[in-house]
Symmetry: C2
């Protein structure tokens, strides 16, 4: 029997798709199809996943684990290759297994959608803090496998910091049960951290125990205009000194980015006229008045010190939603505008202004016509640095692909020079494997290979992702 | 040339110790010597460390990396064996390399003493939150290698959550430079997490970038008496709902433990008479009066609800120090009293009362004469569960070693039954390798071996620690 037939016999009816039924599973977030698959499998349980992996392992056949397909570097969809892989979609595994408010933990299937987990936490008066544009469709297994960031990292860390335990099907088809709900556990190596951020190349996450936090019920939100990022940095420092952990969000964008959002969503007005804009949010367990006073006092002091041009504090929920919509609308707006090269770099928070100055100057030297579009999770040092050309059409360049690579190199070099990273929150996927090879210290790169070879010696787990195609794939 | 001679030729004069000069380096925290060493090396730089490792690797000779020797499971001192290892002490590497207050990061040598790092952070108005009894002598490399916990985990996480980057000499003598100061970095596998908590068995940490937090300047501290742990849990839930992240410390001990501390440090009086005692602390960036009011209001509400018997809020710094001294004095008091079997288990926070009931009943059934001494980081689910016999002298038992093992098994079985861990914060070392083998899910245990074999195929890095003696050591 061929492999799809064999897999069908292992699973319930309708759990293996082939032909045109696969089309949705082959497209990435941009709606592009970059490769093909032998079949798509839709397991319901960890045991189903293990059975699929064992069958593929026996056949030496590659597997691409797939979540909500919202990743931006192509880890969850197949690349081009001679031997199309089996897609293993976790989308049918979306049970919330257990929730323990006092312990601050929730046990979920890997296919749960992020926003469903957020809602379940709120029902027991707790917060699951990972929040990002794709939260309505991205899945828990996906955000763990890419160690997703988002807009709350400043206060709550990345996804990694919010995972207590994992259940993983290893490349040999055995199930590792690491579903611990513990805040402290030093019983041997911390295996879960190997799988977090590994983009499905070391095993398939089927379940997770996530950390919940006290639910803030008081918020204070402001939109602030500044003349340059250096002054934004001073404001950040001021807010951290005055407000401590209450500071949840500190997001920077330039006027070009804001214009793009408003052009795409003209119903939301720009609150302030400035070269650089900040969305700032404080949150606390209680005391909304105190929180607003604290934010107001800090912003007044910043105004007196000449750090900021103007500020608007949201007076009600609608205003707050409007401010947030301006920030959260960036990804959709940029996708809509299209032809935007985007780098996802990080540097130390204190180096963000220096990075912006250096990268802008370097790009403009080579491409004076370039428009630079910046949106940055400044509070955690992550900058999405995009370059756009007014005519928009790459076809007018002699070598569009070469131009993309040239600009990416310039921008990532600037991050490197400041001890930064060329991949802050989007991961490597299939798109940045050359950058990883080029920019990782040699001992580190060899160690990554050592890890991959130890856990997936035949290279069947998401080959072509992170470390590139494995030689061992038969 | 023999290996000590060869190492001497690689290092500065006086950097290799032999004979009686080694004695201090062979003793653990209890002052016991459990094994011997070929020599002790005292490198000054990562390059020194790399040179020592290369020489040992060439000779196939085992290395025991050593920090402040405050570990409680023997990872940092040699065990017994036919071929004494080379001790590599990081104690001469104690430079603070860099500090960046705005980024909230500090770069240090692995040999820096924890309290020196805490002080350096305070100098720039920041907090390094890891705090534990041994902070005056334990070293950064050691607390990272054991993923130390302590009394602030409830709010700030374990050491792991406070490490941004690492520099590690790998078992082949190459240096991995992972000294990144980034809050977000998804460029490939998160190698640092492999080495954190690995107890020196995968490589030697020579430097680290640590995360700093806003420095709380307001504190409110209370000593609270409760009649049983179930009511303590209700109080914890109440405080988390009312105070959110301000709740920094929630430590439980029973009257037997408190009596032991007071007997050892009679200058500090017991604030309250109760079967169970709690040290509770709130901290905030500012507003000590608000914080005291918040704590008072919560405790008054708890009193009205019948959750607590009595409470004393510290009225000044001396009182606060006295309350803290009662908690921090437990380790020294228990060491002084001696003959105390101590388990370091964790369960979900909500299961702490159930664990205490089950473990106490199980021990008392077999040993009715046992005195049970409990001190617990209840806020993070970690319980130090000790058993003492009034006559103190193990010699009076037919089989003292067997009794130790029997009690440990009973207590750890109770943790297991609740999905807990037999090693919450002390690690495995040389003391708990059989427990790890016995209590780890098979796929997980095999994965640990796979990791060890991939990074240290010859088993020269701290053999006999975590996974037990490696067959491969030549």
């Amino acid at each position: 029997m061929d492999l799809p037939g064999q897999l069908s016999s292992l699973l319930r009816a309708g759990a293996v798709l082939t032909g045109d039924d696969m089309s949705a599973y082959l497209q990435d977030w941009w709606g592009r199809q970059t490769g093909s698959a032998l079949c798509v499998t839709l397991p319901k349980t960890p045991e189903d996943v293990a059975a699929i992996v064992r069958a593929c392992a026996d056949a030496g056949h590659a597997i691409v684990p797939q979540g909500g397909r919202t990743g931006l570097t192509g880890a969850g969809v197949p690349g081009a290759g001679d031997r199309p892989p089996v897609i293993l979609s976790l989308s049918q595994m979306r049970r919330i297994r257990k929730i323990d408010a006092i312990n601050g933990s929730i046990d979920v299937d890997a296919g749960c959608v992020l926003s469903d987990v957020q809602s379940a936490a709120i029902c027991v008066n707790r917060l699951f803090p990972v929040s990002l544009g794709a939260e309505g469709s991205c899945q828990i297994g996906g955000i763990i496998s890419t160690n997703a960031g988002g807009t709350n990292v400043l206060r709550y860390g990345t996804t990694r910091e919010n995972v207590l335990g994992l259940e993983v099907v290893l490349p040999d088809g055995t199930i590792w049960n690491g579903m611990k709900s513990l805040r402290k556990d030093n019983a041997g190596y911390a295996l879960r951290h190997m799988f977090i951020g590994a983009e499905g190349t070391l095993g398939i996450i089927t379940g997770a125990v996530l950390k919940l936090h006290p639910l803030p019920t008081a918020h204070a939100t402001a939109w602030v205009g500044v003349s340059d990022p250096e002054l934004a940095l001073r404001l950040l420092n001021r807010l951290q000194s005055c407000c401590g952990e209450r500071l949840t969000t500190f997001e920077l964008m330039n006027a070009e980015q804001l214009e793009g959002v408003i052009a795409y969503r003209p119903t939301v007005p720009s609150p302030i006229d400035a070269a650089w804009h900040l969305l700032i949010e404080l949150a606390d367990i209680s005391g909304p008045e105190l929180l607003s006073e604290m934010l107001l006092a800090s912003l007044e002091a910043a105004m007196s010190a000449g750090e900021i041009l103007d500020a608007a504090i949201a007076q009600n929920g609608t205003q707050r939603d409007n401010f947030r919509a301006l920030r959260h609308g960036t990804a959709d707006a940029n996708r809509h505008i299209g032809h935007v090269l985007s780098a996802d770099i990080s540097v130390s928070v204190s180096s963000v202004p220096r990075f912006l100055t250096a990268a802008s100057a370097a790009v403009r030297t080579l491409y004076p016509e370039a428009q630079i579009v910046v949106v940055s999770h400044m509070g955690d040092g992550n900058v999405h640095f995009a370059v756009r050309f007014s005519h928009g059409d790459w076809g007018s360049y002699d070598d569009p692909a070469g131009t993309v690579i040239a600009i990416r190199t310039i921008v990532n070099d600037c991050a490197d020079a400041l001890g930064g990273s060329f991949s802050a929150e989007h991961g490597i996927g299939r798109k940045l494997i050359d950058e990883l090879r080029k920019r990782t210290d040699q001992a580190g790169y060899q160690s990554m290979h050592r890890l991959k070879d130890a856990f997936d010696p035949r290279g069947i787990m998401n080959p072509g992702c992170v470390l590139g195609e494995q030689d061992q794939v038969s």
